[in-house]
Every structure is written in C-alpha cells, then in structure tokens.
Symmetry: C2
Subunit: 391 residues, 2 copies
C-alpha cells in the first residue's frame, strides 16, 4: 500500500514543463558529467578523483559496491510459460505497485517508456536498442533524519545517494525477476547500470516535476531527497499521468538551491528550451566538478538539502504543500518563511556518521573539514566559496 497519498495528487495530461518529443535527440550515455570526467575530458585531476570517488569514504563505498554487485541480477531469461494474469491492465498495475510497496519502495509510478528516454549509445559506444513499452519507477527516500543533520556536501553525501541507488536497485531487480517469471521481458536500471535516462520517466510516471535544480525531478513528499530505479518491461499495465503540485511557480520564486550551490551550477534565471524540452539550465560541468572535486567531503547534495520540499511528512508541511498545490498566491510568503525560520540549516547534533577519508593507498585520515555552509544571501555565499576554495 502506498506510503504517501499519491492518489490525492492533481494529475494532468501533459507534464508541467513543455516537451516536444519530435525535437528531442536521444542522449549518448558517455555524455553524462561523471562519464565525461571518467573519460578524462576535464583533465587528469578530475579523472583520477572520479576513479577514487567510490572508495573515498567507507559508508558510501560499501553501498556503491552493493549497487555494482547487483549487476547480473538486472535481466535474465523470460519464462516460456505466460502466467494466467487478470485480463485488465488496471489490476496488473495495481498488483505490481503493491508488490513494489511490499518490497519497501517509498513511491511507485508507471508510464509508457518514452523513446527519447533511451540512451542512444552505451559506455562502449554501442547503439542501445531497448524497445520495452513500459517503465516502472521505484523511488527510495535518502533518509530524512540524515538529511536534517548534513551540511549537504560533507562526508555523508555520497552514502545518501547510494542508499537510494542500491536500495531501489535491489527492489527493481526483484521486481524485474518476478515479471520475467510471469512470462514478460523486464530489466532493472539502477545506479551504475542504465540504458534509460531517469528524469523523463519520473515526470511521465507522475513522480514529480522538473525543478530549478536542473535535470532533477522534485517529488511533492520527498522533494529532491530521493533516488530511483527503473524497471522497463512489456507487461501490459495501465499507466499513471504526470502531476502538477505547483512546483513551476514555486521554483520560479524560490531560488534557494541556486543561492546555496557551492559549485554555482544552478541558474537564477528562467526556464529555457533545450533539446526539445523546457528546463532550468544547470551547468553539468560545474556540478560534476563540485561533486568529484570536493575536498571537504564526498559528493554534494546541497541543492537537495536546502530545497524547501525536502521536509518530513508532518501536518504543518502537508498543509503548506496542499496550499501551494491550490494557489501560487502565497509562494513568495512561504519562501520568505523558509529563509526566516532557517528550515534548511544543518543540525549537527543529529549527526551519526564518522568523518573518514580513505586515501588511495587504503589508509585513513580524519578530514579537517566537513563541507561548508553559507547563509542564504547569494553574494555572501559566493564570496565564502571563493575564499574557502581559493578559486
């Protein structure tokens, strides 16, 4: 059973950001920021840091190893017998979602797999041919309590990401295996292993809307504090519709992520058309460099940390969410309240992890710095960054 009231969300026929399918060019997997760094496009330092990225901190290293270990569970033989399933795709979709919730998914959504969401080429440069008709999105919370404690770019950041990647990957892998047992092809895409781009699927499956952070989808209950895995399959299921919870107007006014981004990778401006779809333009190179090159932590999730939608599921916040969904009238007020009440501030008293850096020879150091936190003023924030990083 769904954990969050997804059935009460306002559904719309078209996503809240413009998508012109005919104009979208499929993406080559090698063009993602992390892969460009790995291929040496941004110099030897970032290439090396990219390779050391996984082993740099032991919590995230253990979780990353699990995601890598699940590689051979992604796909497999399809049963030659088709199971006697209910005739109607509504019942099948309900059953699949209930199984995902049983497997402890936080949110589940289903859409037709958009052709433009399939990568054009894999990491070896081979063309990708994936013609599954449907996509199931499996969402995992990156942990509210840890999100409260963190600065966002300290030594827990990467572990929060890989908690989401490996846990959603575990669930998607079991779900895909089950569907293949029923006699339908199915493949799990998670963490390091994707033939599909996630954001368009998350939008079409009603998981969230595109946000100012860039190609990052924000969910009304978790904000950007989640990772997801995708199961692509031909099992016939009724699909979900995109949602509209008022994010477009909110993001146009809030800008907290842009103000706090230590890599200055997030735009203060308006949405633009890019590759046939509308988005707030983010600088993938700056973002990747910030995450890989972070010397005061491992990875970065400051945008996740400071987003006002990154909240616990409590009555007051539920009321605010509901109001934003009904009218944009109070959005400026809510943003001012967010800043005044300093909701996004790190709570170090809730910190449970150890600051530990594993060096390339396998020895450890206790790092002298754990992230950096500016206040909400963009000028001040940018000054701090220049000072601290010596740029």
């Amino acid at each position: 059973m769904a954990v969050y009231p997804v059935d009460s969300l306002k559904r719309v026929d078209q996503p809240t950001t413009l998508i012109n399918e005919a104009q979208i060019q499929r993406i080559d997997e090698r063009r993602s920021g992390f892969n460009r760094a790995a291929l040496g496009e941004w110099g030897a330092y970032l290439q090396n840091e990219r390779h050391h990225f996984i082993a740099k901190e032991p919590l995230s290293a253990a979780l990353t190893k699990m995601d890598l270990y699940l590689k051979d569970f992604r796909d497999g033989p399809v049963s030659s017998s088709k199971a006697p399933l209910p005739e109607d795709p509504v019942s099948i979709a309900r059953h699949i979602k209930e199984f995902a919730y049983f497997l402890r998914a936080d949110i589940v959504g289903i859409c037709e797999l958009p052709r433009y969401a399939v990568y054009s080429h894999d990491m070896e440069g081979e063309p990708i041919d994936l013609d599954h008709k449907y996509a199931i999105a499996v969402v995992i919370d990156q942990d509210w309590k840890t999100a409260e404690a963190t600065v966002g770019n300290d030594w827990i950041s990467n572990a929060m990401s890989f908690l989401g990647y490996s846990t959603s990957g575990f669930i998607a892998s079991v779900l895909a295996d089950y569907i293949r047992r029923l006699g339908y092809p199915a493949r799990a895409h998670h963490g390091f292993f994707h033939e599909v781009l996630e954001p368009p699927i998350l939008v079409q499956a009603g998981i969230g809307e595109m946000s100012r952070i860039g190609d990052i989808v924000v969910n009304p209950f978790l904000g950007p504090r989640f990772k997801s895995a995708i199961v692509t399959t031909d099992l016939p299921m009724v699909t979900d519709k995109p949602i509209d919870f008022g994010l477009q107007d909110f993001c146009s006014k809030c800008k907290l992520c842009a103000q706090h981004c230590p890599g200055r990778a997030i735009s203060f401006g308006d949405k633009v058309l890019y590759n046939g779809y509308e988005r707030w333009p983010a600088d993938a190179e700056r973002c990747t460099k910030q995450r890989i090159g972070n010397q005061a932590g491992v990875g970065c999730g400051v945008c996740i940390k400071v987003c006002p939608w990154n909240k616990p599921f409590k009555p007051l916040h539920r009321f605010t969410r509901w109001t934003i969904g009904k009218t944009p009238l109070f959005n400026s007020l809510f943003v001012r309240g967010e800043k005044l009440l300093r909701y996004g501030m790190p709570k170090p008293e809730k910190k449970w992890w150890l600051d530990l850096e594993t060096l390339e020879d396998g020895s450890f150091v206790v790092p002298s710095r754990a992230g950096h936190w500016g206040n909400n003023e963009p000028e001040d924030r940018q000054t701090r960054n220049v000072d601290e990083d010596g740029e």
Copy 2:
C-alpha cells in the same frame, strides 16, 4: 534512529528463559527441518517438494533468488589499515546501529556471540570454526499490511519470509562490508547462509523472548512477524541486554498459536528443559512437513498470523503492550479480548497478491485453494484439518 522505542524496554541481566551454557551442545546445520527434508530423511515426496519449494510461487521465487544471489557478498578481505574510530565502544555501537537504521533496518541489537550459537558442522559436514566476538542482529518486518490480509498458510506466506530474509540479508551484507573496510573481520549470515543459529542471538541482543511457538523469538513491537540477519564481527562494541516485556506469562496463558497450527506442531503444555535451555517444545518435523507439504499454499506462517503480538504500532496496542510489561494480572483478559474481537482474522479485502502456482515444468496453475482457516477452538480446528487434509 530507531523506529521503535527500544530504549524504553525493560532490560534484564539474564534472559527470561533459563539457559545453562555449559550443557548446550552445538547444533549440526544438517539437522534443521528443511535440511533433513532435503536430505531425504522424511521420504521422497517431501524431498522433492523441498527442492521445488523455491520455484513453487513466483513472488517468493524472485525474493529467494535474491537471497541466494547475495551469497558472495557475505564476507571478503579485511582492510589492512584500521580506521581511526572513537575509543569508546558505546560510540561505535551507536554508530553501527545508526548505519543499520540508515540502511532501513526496523530493529537492531548487539550481543556477544554465544559459542553455542555457532553451528558445529556445515551442510558438507565440515566442522565450523567461527570465533567472532560479537553479533549484530538486523530485524526486518514481514509487512503488517500483508500480515493483515493473509490466512497464514496461503500463497503469500513464503514471500513474507523471504522479504524478511533477503532485505535483512542486503542490509547485513552492506554493514559487514563496511566493518571490513574499517579494518575488522565481519560476516553476514542470512536466509540460506548461516554459520550461526539465530534465536539465541536474538534473545541475548534484546530483540525478543523465547515463545510458545518453539524456537521462535517474539519481539514486543512486531511479534513473530519478522526475519533477521546477523553480522558476526570483532569490531569492539558495547552490547545490549536481554529484554523482559512479560511474554513468558502471556504465552503460558494464550496458546492461540497452538490452537491454530495446521500442522499441530506447537505444544499446549509447559516449557521443558532441552539441550541445556528452557523452551516450549515444538515438533520440528510436523512444522517442516506442514510448510513443505502445504498443497493449498507455499510455506506456512499461521503462528505468526494469529499471535496477539502481531499488531500494528498504534496507541491502543501500545497501551496493552505497556500493561503486559508491567503486570501479568490482565493477561487472561487480554487473551479473551483477542479472541472475542477476532483480531487475528484474515482480511481478504486487503489481499494484493495473485494465487499462482508454478509447476515443476514451469507452467502455471491458478490453485483452487488458498490456505485454510479454522476458528479459535482447538477441537474444531483439529477436526477441520483432519477433514480437509484427509489425514
């Protein structure tokens, strides 16, 4: 952070059931019920059913396959560098537990690994030598919503078990990998892969008390509705103490599990001394035969289903739990209330799974029966079983 108020539980120096360590003989892994069936000790029919058990139903088959897949993640090389950890074992234990909760464990406890909990021989008959000092128990709820819907011995029973086994196995595997990265040996034990017997660890780590069900530990928040995985390690940690939440008197009066057991494997009598420890005697052969030979479902968890401790974490039930912990005076009343209010009745309207049986040739049938449910009277129950099963 702990999900349940484990810190408010009454801790005791000795478990609530007598344990005479000097008298306990270590157990040979081949002597478990499932393994005796697999070895053909109970005839060709049960031996074959044991082998078909995993593939018999596709939800549990997918989950079982995941548990098996995680085999090579259980143990591995230990980092040659020791991490600079806090000096005090209290902080280390807290950190390890918080990591397990971050990994979405439902309950975590730590104890010294009792020598008698280590199997004497493995499945190949080789002596087991495991001298890790500590054991970390990782508990996963088998899903309250599914527990409400099920009859207990229908087509979801095995999937509920393997949800617990594979999910706790996933968490224990990541946790053990992390500890090895810190420079300490650690091994995950879960599902099919154990060098240790779990019940004594669960008792010593304060997860629960021994119950009438037999060698099954009942937890105050989940009842018997959980599975667990164990990490054994030498990482120095402060240990937890056993708990006393009033189960011994309650089980002496309740007997619902004995009344409902379709295999008549659970005793109506008193605790006895066995192999140096005190327990309610359960008939492992009858229990195993019921689970493996079940023709109206896969596996069996009727005892889990009907146990009054199998409840959601809600105010009324919390108050009852608290009262039972304070005084045994109202236990008979509570048991009568449980029967009158028919709390343990299946709720078919909440059923989300499909009744599907996979035959040995891989084809499917929709089974004509899905478990069987008797009322609370032992005489009636036993009559029904004899009638239905034609014994």
